[in-house]
């Protein structure tokens, strides 16, 4: 191509511009060019442009610019004159490190295994913490999902009355939608045996609000929410797989429930949050104009409108609730509404605390392991001093040596972390398997995902640097001539390395002390908790739950008759000592309460007292071994035709009938009864001793309870308790099942458990966290003791000559032993002291979990210190013995 003669001036100005740009770029490289080189280079560039244009025209010019740009880029890149060197250096260092580690396989193996365990556990716990606190919940745009709740006068969140929900939907503007859910029990009659399932009634927009669609079929539409719509159900995928064999032909067909038949319209996605959640069956929640305002049972979810904040939505809901209260005088005083981010509801504060405590515990374990590895590395650096000195003498810079040693440490930690991913996977699986159901919410999906792996990589770097810096610095710092001179002698005894070793020992004892104290507190608390008497005798009692369907037990009398018959039939079974039914079992929580007044006692009408109401069959107290304090228990004569009677517990009597005999007094309570009495009069016939209602850690002041006979106030859903004659309670299961089946073959038997298991189950979360923290503390203590052993052995080896001389000069074996142990003890005590300060600061987070145990109990702290201290001194016993066995002749001859 020939140059275009048409536009010489334009061409010249383009070239001038290019030259100017080139000169400007060269300003960025003041050091790459000789003095005055910028102008010279610009001149050459000019000439080259010219030449290129002459030879090949525009294409030549472009080629010239491209080539020059490439050269500039290479020069501008970091260390431009050594473009490939950093990588090569790293490869060199890695190869050297690999070779060095191959030469000490024992050290390498110990370090890699320790790190794999430490990092793996950290990765596993991190994935739990991440799922609970940081990862977004598995719903579409989950950050904008909130729970809207009522707020009762005491300030707590409360479920929502349906009429209020409808008003909110109509009035609130802060949300793109509000959806409601009500839990219920469903009985599925699809298989051989009726099956009890957790179900939910949900407003038809529920799934859309959460941003979830059906995997098969559809979710609910507005048409499903009309009062006259045919019954439609959406089910979880796990139910679809278990019960229907994942048969898609069942879609659109009917499923038989105890109450009615419903069309299966949709199946939710597999392996989704719904497969881990509580509910298997969803039906549309149909709310009409007659919805109640006095009964609160809906959980309400909202999606914040764009641009709205939780605080603003909360303010609006307070105003909306106030307006509704104004219009409905029947709403009790001081009720309001509140908006809370969904995560704050899903992740309970206690769960978040558990996650943080475990994260702290495993981090401490890893830190101790890292300190141990630093100690090992330090000994190794000291032992390799001759080798290092030779390298330094041959011209390796100090930085080069430091870098080499650090790369070794990083290679170790990277290997450990890689193995740690496998450990983490196993740890996470074990954690999920052993954690009590409900520890993690369904929304928290702990997996070893990219985030967890990134965390693992971070741990690898941090532990590598932590464990490597001290030995590398120590190794590189050595003075060449000194080290070379001392080659062959006992080179390991430098004062600096002894100080460093001592510091590491103190550190790890201090760290272990924190964990040991925490674990000791939790264990003490747990032991005290399990020694608490629940107020009843749980041994040899079988329990199960029955729910009589309204469709077949239409009258209250039918319900009363059924429970009368079922308890009578069970009592007649062989090996059965007693059988009864009750609304809620001890430790099972407050099921429902009622306000009441005691005749003759003053009542504040604005704040009437409330008690936990229990419906019981006659032999309930006897069956559970709950002792009577006064009066009598129920009998079969307390039936529908007899006067209404009640039994109260001691707390009720103490609080509401402070003076005189409670038996004979009358409790007025608007509770349903077969005699049709409004605001009925229940005459107290007996007082029982208190039973723990919520859990073994119930406060001293128990819940006030009032028991009324099932025969007088029937209720369809009750727990049945059966006491054996001393044979194992589980042996009764077949007979009990058969007896119930005879009365009603379609009635599902739910929640079959021995009472002992229930008592144990009431402390599973306590047991779980105690076991975990205890396990980590034991591991920490073990690692710390290993560290003490290693450090003290090292010290003894380093001081063999000195010890030999002492012995030669007349020191007794016992003196040597005492000297070495004394030094160990000083270091251990320093560590314990530091650790005590740490423990006092850290164990405060456990306060909430401690039952009858003070986190600052001096005896507990002293006990933890003594235990750890003795273990540490014991660990230094072997090295001390070795010191005492030093033979002065051998040592002095070798020297």
């Amino acid at each position: 191509m020939s140059p275009a003669p048409a536009a010489p001036s334009a061409r010249r100005s383009v070239r001038r511009l290019a030259t100017r740009l080139y000169t400007a770029a060269l300003r960025l490289l003041p050091d790459a060019l000789p003095p005055g080189g910028r102008g010279a280079a610009a001149e050459a560039f000019d000439a080259l442009q010219d030449e290129a244009w002459q030879a090949r025209g525009a294409r030549g010019l472009a080629g010239c610019w491209l080539a020059e740009t490439g050269s500039l880029a290479r020069l501008l890149a970091p260390r431009p004159h050594l473009p490939r060197r950093p990588m090569t250096m790293l490869t060199h260092d890695l190869r050297d490190a690999y070779r060095a580690l191959r030469r000490s396989p024992g050290f390498t193996l110990v370090v890699v295994v320790t790190l794999a365990l430490g990092i793996g556990m950290n990765t596993a716990i991190f994935s739990v913490v991440d799922a609970l606190l940081f990862k977004s919940l598995p719903y579409a745009d989950a950050e904008r999902l909130v729970v809207v709740a009522e707020r009762h006068p005491l300030g707590g969140r409360n479920t929502v009355a349906p009429a209020n929900f409808l008003d909110w939907q109509a009035r609130a503007t802060s949300f793109t939608g509000l959806a409601a859910r009500q839990s219920r029990t469903e009985t599925l009659l699809d298989g051989d045996e009726p099956r009890t399932l957790r179900g939910a009634l949900v407003s038809v927009n529920y799934f859309a609000l959460l941003g979830v669609d059906a995997a098969l079929g559809r979710v609910f539409t507005d048409a499903d929410g009309r009062p006259d719509a045919p019954c439609a159900v959406v089910i979880s995928h796990r139910l679809f797989a278990q019960q229907l064999g994942a048969d898609t032909a069942r879609l659109g067909r009917d499923l038989a429930f105890a109450a009615e038949r419903c069309t299966l319209v949709g199946v939710l996605p597999a392996d989704s949050v719904f497969d881990r959640g509580a509910y298997d069956v969803y039906r549309p929640l149909v709310l009409g104009p007659g919805a109640t305002r006095s009964s609160h049972f809906l959980t309400v979810f909202g999606r914040l409108a764009p641009g709205t904040t939780v605080a603003r939505a909360d303010a609006e809901m307070v105003a909306v609730a106030a307006a509704i209260s104004g219009e409905h005088p029947e709403i009790e005083l001081d009720w309001s509404a509140t908006v809370v981010p969904l995560r704050d509801v899903v992740v309970r504060a206690d769960t978040a605390r558990l996650a943080w405590v475990l994260m702290g515990a495993v981090a401490l374990v890893l830190l101790i392991a890292t300190v141990n590895i630093a100690g090992l590395g330090l000994s190794r650096a000291v032992a390799r001093r001759p080798e290092v000195s030779v390298r330094v003498a041959l011209g390796a810079g100090r930085w080069r040596v430091f870098r080499g040693l650090l790369v070794e440490s990083l290679l170790l930690s990277a290997t450990g972390a890689a193995a740690g991913v496998g450990v983490g996977r196993i740890a996470l699986r074990a954690f999920s398997a052993y954690m009590p159901a409900g520890t993690l919410p369904a929304e928290a999906i702990a997996t070893l995902d990219g985030r967890a792996l990134a965390f693992t990589a971070l741990l690898a770097v941090v532990t590598g640097l932590l464990a490597g810096t001290v030995p590398a610095w120590h190794g590189a710092r050595d003075n060449v001539s000194g080290a070379l001179r001392s080659t062959g002698r006992s080179v390991s005894g430098s004062r600096a390395s002894a100080r460093l070793h001592g510091g590491l020992l103190v550190t790890e004892i201090a760290l272990a002390m924190i964990l040991v104290t925490g674990a000791a507190l939790l264990v003490a608390s747990f032991v005290r908790l399990t020694r608490v008497s629940p107020g009843f005798d749980a041994t040899d009692v079988l329990t199960l739950r029955l729910s009589l369907p309204e469709t077949r037990y239409r009258s209250a009398q039918a319900v009363a008759d059924f429970y009368g018959r079922v308890t009578a039939n069970l009592q007649a079974l062989p090996r059965v000592a007693g059988a009864a039914a009750i609304t809620s079992l001890p430790l099972g929580g407050w099921l429902y309460g009622a306000t009441f007044s005691v005749e003759g006692e003053p009542v504040d009408p604005a704040r009437p007292p409330a008690a936990h109401v229990q419906h019981a069959t006659p032999s309930y107290f006897e069956t559970l071994g709950i002792p009577l304090a006064a009066g009598r228990a129920f009998t079969t004569r307390d039936d529908a035709r007899a006067p209404l009677v009640a039994v109260i517990n001691e707390t009720f009597a103490r609080r509401f009938i402070p003076a005189g005999d409670a038996v004979g007094r009358v409790v007025r309570m608007d509770e349903f009864n077969l005699q049709g009495e409004d605001d009925a009069r229940w005459r107290i016939v007996g007082v029982i001793r208190d039973v723990k209602t919520y859990g073994l850690d119930d406060a001293e002041l128990a819940t006030p309870e009032v028991y009324i006979p099932v025969a007088q106030s029937p209720t369809p859903s009750l727990f049945v308790t059966v006491r054996s004659d001393g044979s194992p309670a589980t042996a009764l299961v077949p007979d009990v099942r058969a007896a119930i089946r005879t009365l009603d073959p379609e009635l599902p038997i739910a929640d079959l458990q021995t009472m002992t298991d229930r008592v144990g189950g009431s402390v599973t979360s306590e047991r779980f966290r105690t076991a975990l923290v205890g396990g980590f503390a034991a591991l920490a203590a073990l690692l710390a003791c290993l560290g003490v052993y290693a450090v003290r052995s090292q010290a003894v080896v380093a001081r063999r000559r000195e010890i030999g001389i002492r012995v030669a000069l007349g020191a007794k074996r016992g003196d040597v032993l005492a000297m070495v142990l004394g030094q160990s003890a000083r270091l251990v005590v320093a560590g314990l002291g530091l650790g005590l300060a740490g423990a006092l600061a850290m164990t405060r987070v456990l306060d909430r979990w401690l039952f009858a145990t003070d986190a600052r109990d001096p005896w507990m702290l002293a006990g933890a210190m003594a235990a750890l201290g003795l273990a540490a001194i014991a660990a230094s016993w072997v090295p001390a013995r070795r010191a005492a066995a030093v033979d002065p002749l051998t040592v002095l001859r070798d020297a």
Binding site: L29, A32, L33, G36, A44, L48, E68, L72, R74, P80
Partner: protein, 107 residues
């Protein structure tokens, strides 16, 4: 020693040259196989100056005041010769392995 540096030393072996002339000389000698850019050249010159293998003439014999002239130093000549000898040994080895045709012995 990089090929570029060796070529620059060769260019300066028997005369003083300015930068652009060095580029041209190298390109001519290598039949265009090596064509330096201005920045690469001057970066290399800087390293050669720092190492004392070349130095800059105080005189500016040319018309263009921006031009700088360079000449080889005895140290540069020695380094270039050492490199040439090394290359010769390499080619001799390659020849022994018959990667190159055998050299005709001088008659």
């Amino acid at each position: 020693m990089s090929p570029q540096v060796f070529q620059i030393l060769l260019s300066l072996a028997d005369r003083t040259l300015h930068g652009y002339a060095i580029i041209q000389d190298i390109r001519t000698r290598t039949d265009g196989a090596m064509s330096l850019t201005a920045s690469t050249l001057y970066a290399a010159l800087r390293r050669l100056l720092d190492a004392g293998l070349i130095d800059e003439l105080d005189a500016r014999p040319d018309d263009d005041p921006r031009r700088r002239y360079y000449r080889i130093t005895p140290k540069g000549r020695a380094a270039g010769k050492a490199e040439a000898a090394r290359l010769e040994r390499l080619t001799a080895m390659a020849r022994d392995k018959r990667w190159l045709p055998a050299k005709r012995s001088p008659r």
